[in-house]
Point group: none
Chain length 209, copies 4
């Protein structure tokens, strides 16, 4: 069947990108085979080359397409929160979904593996995803401090610490998510995280830093 309309083409393109995400995540960039990607999208090798010039081109298109997902939405959602504590709680609620349902962890895995082959992609990902995420957290913290809600020594480093369990969980999920003894209750984990953050960051009278 042929894709004549633009929508049909976009559909094929998307199917190929999805297939590429799967194959690259499973095998890594070097070991993934173009034929397998095409087959996974129910297309032929030749057709793949109608949509992407080369393996590298496909890889970069993949990162471009998937790397900046609903981050905007999350950003908006969190920024609108009336209090920093609520914002952190929202984070805790969103994290499991982001890890279990979005392509982000698999993409991160690929990028980690190929960071030396494609340093500009690793940089792009850092700036547009991780540092942006840390920036959001940091501004939440800074707002909390301004409002006298929180007590935070170094908002940038603190944001980094807060991201830690997310990265660990993302890596864990792509590596062991499908093993029977690798499952972790992420809802519980991030709820606990939120409670600890409250205990650690909320301003108190009785105890000096």
């Amino acid at each position: 069947m042929r894709a004549r309309t633009d929508e049909a083409k976009d559909l094929r393109r998307q199917a190929l990108l999805d297939a590429a995400l799967d194959e690259f995540a499973e095998r890594g960039f070097a070991a993934a085979r173009m034929e397998d990607i095409a087959r996974r999208a129910d297309l032929s090798k030749g057709t793949l080359y109608l949509y992407f010039e080369s393996k590298e081109d496909l890889f970069k298109a993949l990162v471009d397409t998937k790397a900046a997902p609903r981050l905007d939405e999350i950003e908006a959602l969190v920024t609108e929160m009336p209090s920093a504590l609520e914002a952190l709680a929202t984070f805790a609620q969103l994290a499991p979904m982001l890890i279990q349902r979005s392509p982000v962890p698999r993409l991160a895995k690929i990028i980690i593996g190929e960071s030396n082959q494609f340093p500009e992609i690793a940089d792009f990902y850092r700036r547009n995803f991780i540092e942006r995420g840390m920036g959001v957290i940091r501004s939440v913290l800074e707002q909390g401090v301004e409002r006298g809600e929180l007590e935070v020594e170094d908002p940038a480093l603190t944001a980094r610490l807060i991201m830690g369990p997310m990265v660990l969980s993302a890596v864990w999920h792509v590596l062991y998510g499908d093993k029977p003894d690798g499952r972790v209750d992420l809802e519980k984990l991030f709820a606990l995280h939120a409670r600890y953050l409250r205990r650690a960051l909320v301003k108190r009278e009785d105890e000096p830093t």
Copy 2:
């Protein structure tokens, strides 16, 4: 010069393993070239095959050799601590060194990239390194609770949260450690982490969980 004694051979073997660590970390298992590994150790391709039967054999030897480094020492050190807080502080002191000076982060990067090609290695690493690390933290926490020092809801999940910044920092270090704007002051980061942990976990009278 030729390696005739067993010590000289061990030296060559080590040199090859070091070279392999570098190449695998830089390019990933599939993209690394045996000849490059040999050259990096100032040996020829053929010599490499005198020491390792195949690329896969070399990879597995690499994991076997480098995967369980001074973890024993750390374990002993931490277990001997008189109080849980001191143990966590010791962790905070050791973490930067482990991340910046040991081969663990680079090894972790390789294993993340190849987890689907070598699931048994990913499992080995999980059990012998990550879960072991989390286990140590957990027993520290449990001792702290027993002594009435700490207040911990779920020691296993808490240990996982505590590992988070370590994993993030390790990944960050291998990906961006050599970039000018990628440097992070790990001493400061983990000192801060230790302080937050104290605030979050130390038992208080005045505030219910």
Copy 3:
């Protein structure tokens, strides 16, 4: 030109098998180069691997395809003969063709050379070709004895003796067939053989065994 239909593919496959027969016969299995085989069939190395998974696979396909040639026809032809003498004469007529025109001698040469690498192939060849041939001769002899035509002490051993000149001639042909001083008049040779067989095997009244 590209082989798109099944027939065209079969043609390529045949061409590759023919080329393989030539190269293996000339150099032996180990010394034959896959690229040379492909080139001899006017194809590239890569294309050869579209048709055969490996060198060994190609070798086995070669034996499967060429090893049991018109043996069925010969068997039928000989079995239908009204008398044993005629059957032996027919043999004598067919032998030169089998040696000079069929792939059997070259195939035998390859199999002799590789009998230790591929003992199952040597066994296959023995059972499906040599012992089958000897079996036909033997049954001819036994029929001749039953009919009172021949006097044969040990039909199995006698069949083996009768095969002797065929094997010698086959080996000779592949080794020296193209040398000026290596040519042998096979028609004459096997006609003479048939006459000797008549003298040796035909029942006589005047002379006891």
Copy 4:
């Protein structure tokens, strides 16, 4: 241990040639490994190169040494026979030993396999062994004819026919000699052969050719 005397050197040389015969016969020239040959002679690879310049040199030395065995003795023995029939009977007696105990069949196997790589060796073998053998038989036949003992149409072709079962048996022996169902009673076979030859070749009054 070092071979200082000439005899000791000759011993090493012989051991290497024996080992080479075994390895070349088992694997063929291309697939045989110099290291395996050395090891089979309980020597090191380096030592092998003290005795033979190269693999090819070793191969040629092997043929030179083993190709012309006790053929002289056989030749003398047979030539001295008072009658052609006795000479043929002697042949029948010697054949099994030549096939089962001498290196000739294994050597023949190697030479068959490598005839295209080393055509000069195949030629050498033909002239110095096969044609010489056939020549002896032929002169026996011619003497028999002169003496009125035998009736032979074409002594050269007849000699070739007589050699047939020897070649078949030699090939059979190296290919299947060690298989349980590959054993043949060579004494019986060649005794039978001798009887058939007598019936076929002895001059008779009663029957015209």
